[in-house]
C-alpha cells in the first residue's frame, strides 16, 4: 500500500514558490486526507508536474464560490463621549494568498489520489480570474474543466476543447452563479390555474 511520502510537503513547497498552506489528517483506518492551498494560482502546473512524477491520479476537480462571511450585528452600546467615534471600515477577509472572500471569488480544488490517499491542491481566484488548464499533464482534467467553465464565469486557459459538457449552448453561461427559477430550469409552463381555483374556493375574493 502506497502512502503519502514523508517529504510531500517539502516537495510541494519546492514546486510552488508562491508558498503553500499544507495540512493533513489521518482517519482511524489509516487513510490520509491532505490539503495544500497555493498562495499563487500560477504555481498549479509546476505542482501538477511534481504530482505527475509521483504517480498521482487526478480524481476530481471541484469549483466553488465561498460565500462572504455574514455581517455580525453591531452591538449598539456607545460609551459616553465615544458616541460619534467613527467605525473602522469593514475589512474583507482573505484566503491564504490574499484573495478576498467576498462571495464572488472562486476556489478550485484539485483532488488527487496518491496510493490510497487524498491530496487536494487548492487554487484561489478573484472574480474574473483565470487559471491554466491541467490537461497538458492530466488527460482526466478535460471533462471536469469543461464542467467548471459552464457552471462559473471562470476562464481556463489553453483548454483543448472548451465546449459545453452537459448544458446546452442555448443556456446562459455561469449557471451556478445565477438564481434560476425551477419552472425555467425544467422548461415548464407556468399557469395561474391552481391559484385561481384556490381563490374561487375561498368565495371568489378579488
Amino acid at each position: 500500500m502506497t502512502r503519502l511520502l514523508e517529504d510531500i510537503e517539502a516537495r510541494l513547497a519546492a514546486a510552488a514558490p508562491g508558498g503553500i498552506d499544507y495540512s493533513s489528517t489521518t482517519s482511524p483506518h489509516g487513510a490520509v486526507t491532505a490539503w495544500c492551498g497555493m498562495a499563487n494560482s500560477e504555481d498549479l502546473l509546476s505542482v501538477g508536474e511534481t504530482l505527475l512524477r509521483l504517480g498521482a491520479r487526478l480524481a476530481m476537480i471541484s469549483a466553488l464560490q465561498p460565500p462572504a462571511p455574514e455581517e455580525e450585528e453591531e452591538e449598539e452600546e456607545p460609551a459616553e463621549g465615544e458616541a460619534t467615534a467613527e467605525k473602522p471600515a469593514k475589512e474583507v477577509p482573505t484566503t491564504f494568498g490574499g484573495t478576498p472572500i467576498d462571495g464572488k471569488s472562486y476556489e478550485i480544488d484539485y483532488h488527487f489520489v496518491l496510493g490510497g490517499d487524498f491530496l487536494t491542491v487548492i487554487a484561489y481566484l478573484p472574480a474574473g480570474g483565470s487559471i491554466s488548464s491541467l490537461t497538458p499533464l492530466f488527460r482526466s482534467a478535460n471533462w471536469p474543466e469543461r464542467e467548471i467553465m459552464e457552471n462559473y464565469s471562470l476562464v481556463i486557459r489553453d483548454h483543448p476543447n472548451p465546449r459545453r459538457l452537459f448544458l446546452d449552448p442555448s443556456i446562459d453561461a455561469a449557471a451556478l452563479e445565477r438564481l434560476i427559477p425551477y419552472s425555467t430550469l425544467v422548461n415548464a409552463a407556468s399557469t395561474k390555474a391552481l391559484w385561481d381555483k384556490v381563490l374561487a374556493a375561498k368565495g371568489g375574493a378579488s
Binding site: 482511524p28 489509516g30 480524481a59 471541484s62 487536494t120 488527460r139 471533462w143
Partner: protein, 365 residues
C-alpha cells in the same frame, strides 16, 4: 447518414438507441464498417442535483444522494455520510460498520449481474440474458426482504445504518447465498466457455494499461487492464480492514476481461457477505443521537460497483452544506471509450459501450 468522402461516413448513435439503457449521444466517424473516431456528447439527463444538495439540509441530502442513480444508489449516501462523519469526527458502532459492508456487497452483486445480463442481451444470446436476470432476482428478493425495497434501499444514515438483521432475515440471507452460489458458478462457466460470448467479447474494445492510466479509469475497467486498485483495499472503510477482500485483475483489457472481473467479484462479494454474517458483532446499529455537523471540509471515497466514487463536502456549520461535489466512477471511464472504439466494428459499438457499465444518470447528475 452523410458521406463526406469515399467510404467515409458519419453516423449518430443515440441519444435514444435500442442498445443503450440511458441517453448518450455518440457522433461516430466510420470508414466502411470500422470506427475511426468518436465524439461523446452528454447532458441529456442533467438535473442539477449538485446545486440541489446545497438547498437541502445535510440530513435530507442523505436521502437525495440515494436518488442520483438506481444501480449504485447505496454507494452515494454511503460516501456522503462518510464525509459527514469525517467532519464531525464520528466513529460508527462496530455492528454498523459490518452492516454497511453487507448492504454494499448485496448491491454490488445485483449491479454486476445486471451488467453481465445486458452483455448477453447485446450479443443476441437472450436466453442467457434472461437466465442472468433470473439469478439477479435472488438478490432483488434479498433487498426487498432486508430493506423493504428493490433498488433504493435507504440503509445509510449519519452515524450508522437504518436497518438491522435479526435471526429471521439472517437465515433468509444465508439461504439466498446458498441458492446464489451454484447459479453464479454455472453462469461463470457459460461466460468462460460459450462460443457466442467469447466471439463477441474477446479481443474487442481493447484498452491498454497506459491508456487506462492516462484516462484515470477506475473499477472493473481499470482492473481488467492490470491496474490493481480497489478502494476497499487501498483505503479501507467500514469493516473492510477486518475482512479479506480480494481484488481480481486481468491484463487483456477487452470486453471479456471486464465481464470476467465482474463475474469474479460476485464470488468475492458472496464470500464477504458470509464472513460478515459470521463475524457480525452485537451492539447498536447507529449513534444514539442525530449528530450536528460542524463547519469543515472532508473527502470521502468508496468502491461502488463501477469503481471508486469520490465525494467532496464543505460545510459552514449551517444545516445546508456549502458545497457537495462528487465524481462517479463512470465519469472518467467514458473518456476511455474513444480508445476502445477506434478500430472496432460498427456492430460492436453497443457491446463496448456496455462494457464500461456506463451510468449516465450518475455522470450527469
Amino acid at each position: 447518414m452523410s458521406a463526406s468522402a469515399d467510404k467515409t461516413y458519419t453516423i449518430p448513435v443515440g441519444p435514444l438507441h435500442v442498445a443503450l439503457e440511458e441517453p448518450m449521444y455518440f457522433h461516430i466517424d466510420l470508414e466502411g464498417e470500422t470506427v475511426r473516431d468518436v465524439d461523446i456528447r452528454a447532458g441529456h439527463v442533467h438535473r442539477g442535483v449538485e446545486y440541489l444538495t446545497t438547498k437541502r439540509s445535510i440530513y435530507q441530502d442523505v436521502v437525495l444522494t440515494e436518488r442520483i442513480c438506481a444501480l449504485c444508489s447505496n454507494s452515494h449516501p454511503e460516501t456522503f455520510v462518510m464525509a459527514c462523519e469525517q467532519i464531525a469526527g464520528l466513529e460508527i458502532p462496530e455492528r454498523a460498520a459490518y452492516l454497511r459492508v453487507i448492504a454494499a456487497e448485496i448491491k454490488r452483486i445485483a449491479s454486476h449481474l445486471f451488467n453481465l445480463g445486458i452483455l448477453a442481451h447485446l450479443t443476441g444470446y437472450d436466453t442467457l440474458f434472461m437466465h442472468a436476470m433470473q439469478v439477479r432476482e435472488i438478490m432483488q428478493d434479498v433487498k426487498e426482504t432486508l430493506f423493504g425495497n428493490r433498488m433504493d434501499i435507504g440503509a445509510m444514515c449519519i452515524g450508522g445504518v437504518r436497518y438491522d438483521l435479526d435471526a429471521e432475515t439472517t437465515a433468509y440471507l444465508t439461504a439466498a447465498l446458498d441458492k446464489l452460489t451454484p447459479e453464479v458458478d454455472a453462469l461463470a462457466k457459460t461466460y468462460r466457455r460459450n462460443h457466442t460470448i467469447l466471439r463477441r467479447s474477446r479481443g474487442i474494445g481493447l484498452l491498454t494499461k497506459d491508456q487506462a492510466i492516462a484516462c484515470a479509469v477506475v473499477g472493473p475497467v481499470a482492473r481488467a487492464c492490470g491496474i490493481e486498485y480497489d478502494v476497499r483495499i487501498a483505503a479501507p472503510y467500514a469493516a473492510y480492514d477486518r475482512l479479506r477482500v480480494a481484488a481480481p485483475t486481468l491484463t487483456d483489457g477487452d470486453v471479456w476481461s471486464r465481464a470476467m472481473i465482474r463475474m469474479t467479484e460476485i464470488g468475492v462479494s458472496i464470500q464477504l457477505l458470509r464472513d460478515c454474517l459470521r463475524d457480525l458483532p452485537e451492539g447498536p446499529t447507529r449513534l444514539p443521537e442525530r449528530p450536528d455537523i460542524p463547519a469543515g471540509r472532508a473527502m470521502g471515497k468508496c468502491e461502488a460497483p463501477r469503481g471508486e466514487l469520490v465525494y467532496f463536502l464543505k460545510t459552514s456549520g449551517a444545516d445546508e452544506p456549502e458545497r457537495v461535489k462528487w465524481r462517479v466512477p463512470s465519469f472518467p471511464n467514458w473518456d476511455a471509450l474513444p480508445f476502445m472504439l477506434r478500430g472496432a466494428k460498427i456492430a460492436d459499438i453497443a457491446i463496448i459501450v456496455n462494457s464500461i457499465d456506463p451510468c449516465v444518470s450518475c455522470t450527469e447528475r
